[in-house]
Amino acid sequence: MDFLSRFSRNRGALVGALVILLVALIAVLAPVFFPTDPLRIVGPPELWPGDDPDFLLGTDSLGRDILAMIVHGARATLLIGLFASAVATLIGVTVGATAGYFGGWVDEASMRAAELFQTIPNLIFVLTIVVILGSTLHNIVIAIGIVSWTPIARMTRAEFLALRDREFVQACRSMGMGDLGIIMGEILPNALPPVIVLSSLVVAGAILFESAVSFLGLGDPNVASWGRLVGDGRQLIRSSWYICAIPGVAIMITVLCLNLIGDGLNDALNPKLRDR
């Protein structure tokens, strides 16, 4: 409860969390509200929002319902964000933990690898991977995970470096606990809080990545992604710019709320690092 009270003291974080919960709810309930495939053509093309009560947010260039695509797009968006962040966290924590705990050449090699992945411009890397592996949802998730793990690795490593020589760890060692046990059971739980904050920001970053990839036309064509909607609407900005505007607003709100949550988590989990 202490955590919750610290979290909710940050008003922005509270609002952000509520909105994300709402988005998640919409995503889960999408098939209930819009049972038909959102990519189906259901009406006349390029209807403005408000022209027709059946299509509250209008239709796109083919005649698909934009509201349906936004609602179903929420699913894709949140799923991608969560899974990409999971991939990045998995890689990052593994690399960072081993680097921080064992030190020596393992540390050197891991940090060189991290530097390598940070040197290659990230979106370019993602685009290349997606073009190579194919434009499916899981390839995009993997690609984003591959470029996002480095800050998590560094953070984990820093935490492990700080914690590994603490008394409680030495006590465990003298008790005969193996390395894996110490890493997983003792240090990791204590190292996690800042990592969690970072992971939440990675979710936001992953959503921005995916929308950029879909915008450039490399997204999964079977998925109603928000980024793809923006990309599809590019040809029509003179007459039907709402096709670009609406999904972009959706992306922005989601990313914004995730950032607010990240701030709140930061406040709640790292009270000593707050800036005021």
């Binding site: 006349p44 390029e46 083919l62 005649g63 064509p221």
Partner: protein
Amino acid sequence: MSKITRRTFSATVGASVAATGLIAPALAQEPKRGGTLVATWGGGEPQACYVPSGGGSSPTFSSSKLFERLGSRKMTGEFVGELAESWKPAADYKSYAVKIRKGVKFHDGKEMTVADVVYSIDEIWKKYAAAAAMTDYAGAESPDADTVIIKFAKPVPEFFFASLLSGNVNYIVPKHVYAGSDPVTNPANNAPIGTGPWKFKEWVRGSHFEYVRNDAYWRQGLPYMDKLIIRYVRDPAGRAAAMEAGEIQIGVFNPVAPPDIKRLTGTGKFVATPKGYEEAVWSTSLECNTRNPIFAKREVRQAMFYAVDRGLIAKTVYYGYARPGTSPIFSPNKEFFTPDTFSTQYDPKKAAALLDGAGFPKKADGKRFTLNLLSAGWFAENGKIGAIVKQGLEDIGVGINLTVPDRPTSIKRIYTDYDFDLAISNQANPSEPVPSTTQYYTSDGIKKGVPFRNASGFHSDEVDALVEKIKVEIDPAKRKALVVEFQKITTREAPNLPLLELETITLASAKVQNHSNDPNYLAASWHDIWLAS
């Protein structure tokens, strides 16, 4: 927002075209000499200015202003000589004597001779530009300084021969520049030396080609203008903005999006015309991979076509600038097209019935079977068409996995790996059906790794024999009858048919005169274009 229908488009175009007097056969004004014309087209910059094997529409567009062909086809349909004065078949039609025009000079001042013609045919046409068409080629010789005799192993119909002489990139290139080199990587391909009305001046990569008038051009007094600049603009909105600002005067091959066409012609300052593409009609086609046992029966293949709402595609994807395709031979083809073919126009009930009858009933989950649909991503429209085809097929119980790969992956999967069940692709074919159209339906068209051939795997002895007859039938009436037969069979077998014939538009400022006067205007030399003030 209002939609553009064919009717409104035709009305608008008709009105603006009539207003400028463009379609009036007799020019009221005297052509104005001088000035610079800036042109663009609806695609991107080519990889080289001239690509010996064609390389697609972009290098064809850039190189056709600098090179010329032996013959060319007029809007009226008749073939006339260009670098050739005339040609005559021998009695057995196994050879043609071509009289070569005298007094034609290359841009570097050297005289064009029969040696250049023979070299071009032997080394460029046979190996790169027209390899598929010249399978029966048996050599060329020049008995005197004016004549080239082109020989074949089998009789060759006149229409076919004339088409060969007028082929897209069947140019006469200078032997002294290309002999002894690898034509594909010869640096002259980036600064070509030809006989055309325009001379290469400069290529600013990423921006434009600059051509200047060939003062020694063999057509006296032409071209009228001083300079021709071909500008490349990445996206249609940018082209529309440039044309509106007067920076580009003419754009061929759908330079701007349909809503912009309507808007610009509405100002009265611009003209849009579908003329100039009769010999290069584009289509969007649907192809069934007959290697999949599901497609063994022709009824199943026909059902695929019955399930697609072509009218919807024409309306929503092409804004009305397309018409349903009914035959592998396209409707503007006066010589060979017949409307009397097996129809597979939109009829979902028929499609469902055919699948039921073929032994593919709907299972408990509502699906009959699942297919992989590959929509080639080289045109943005194909992704949308893929979505519509997917919807139409899912409506009759066929599950569809849609992928829209990029150009290299599409080419590889369709034409090398044959990794698809259904494919959406595109073709542009001239009037002469051999080999461009026929190679999609014959056994010898199955060439692994070579694109735009028979990827469906369809083979029928009947069709093979028919095409062999079409190749050598000299009598035009009999030949047409054979091609009509060909159309009837292929539409009935339905391995690969056009869904739509696309209407291609040229957009020009009302000041541009003498444009769109060639049935393949993108590949024409533009020797008589001029700009009124």
